[in-house]
Amino acid sequence: MAAVGFRNWARALSRGKQPGFSALLSQVRAASGPSKGMLPGPYPKTPEERAAAAKKYNMRAEDYEPIPDHGEGYGDYPQLPDRSQHERDPWYSWDHPDLRRNWGEPIHWDFDMFIRNRVDTSPSPVDWHTMCKHLFGFIGFMMLMFYLGEKFPSYQPVAPKQYPYSSLHLERGGDPEKQPEERERTNVAGSKAKSAAEERHAEGERP
């Protein structure tokens, strides 16, 4: 490729009409790309131009429809349906199975977007409104249930746990000067009997 380019460059320099560097810029193109006749051209205006463009893009004349010209510069490129490759038959034996395309088939303008790794235009199993109803219904229901859970919490039927030293006033970072006076912690009735039982239990297993 570089050798071909160099020869072109040398030939253009020796034969070109303009002197110097401008001689290099004209008509120097590698042979590996499409030929002049295969490239897109201007928007077709006459039926003959349409027929020629359809032939160029390997389409039937009745199928060929150029992209409407609003000044974006699409030229005579055909307008193909905006369907991604996901929607094509997966079981048909395509020439290129990964791209689901046959040789010579006209390529969509956004073909690289519509490959199977990217944008998928296939229809969803459920229609849009059903999807919205289901999603927002579920979210709304969950929010309602969480709200009810805050209003009516579930708890065990036990009193709050009691902590010593004025419910750990100093340990929780309280001011040493100010001691909050709470009601004293008391044992359940029969405290004497209970502490005796505790002693018996503590000494029960050890000699």
Binding site: Y155, V158, A159, P160, Y163, Y165, T186, N187, V188
Partner: protein, 121 residues
């Protein structure tokens, strides 16, 4: 299991106690004698043992013994069964007392309601 929730929210909404609020009745009411709970481990001892704040309850002395036993017997993690049981039993007693306190509060509330209805009648 859960009958207290039905009582609290549906059937007896005035008398079922709310554990989030402090219990208002006198702790000695209805008992002949009741002594204050005694705390065995001192604050200095709990600080030295680096007991987590939420575990500095009335069973902390058992927990400190358990921690010492585990520290001494590592890596034998099966060693401290007796100390662990002591601590567990103390915590169990504490939980049973919490259940009893709740029930006591509930019965006092119902008694209060009965007394008020008798006075109104």
């Amino acid at each position: 299991m859960g009958a207290h929730l039905a009582r609290r929210y549906i059937t007896e909404t005035e008398t079922e106690p709310d554990p989030a609020k402090p219990f208002g009745f006198d702790p000695e009411f209805g008992f002949n004698e009741r002594k204050e709970r005694e705390m065995v481990a001192s604050q200095a001892q709990m600080n030295l043992a680096q007991v987590p704040v939420l575990q500095r309850d009335y069973c902390a002395h058992h927990l400190i013994k358990l921690m010492k036993c585990k520290r001494d017997n590592w890596p034998n993690f099966l060693a401290c069964k007796h100390e662990r049981h002591d601590w567990d039993y103390c915590e169990h007693q504490d939980y049973v007392m919490r259940m009893k306190e709740y029930e006591r509060e509930r019965r006092l509330q119902m008694r209060k309601k009965r007394v008020e209805e008798a006075q109104a009648a």
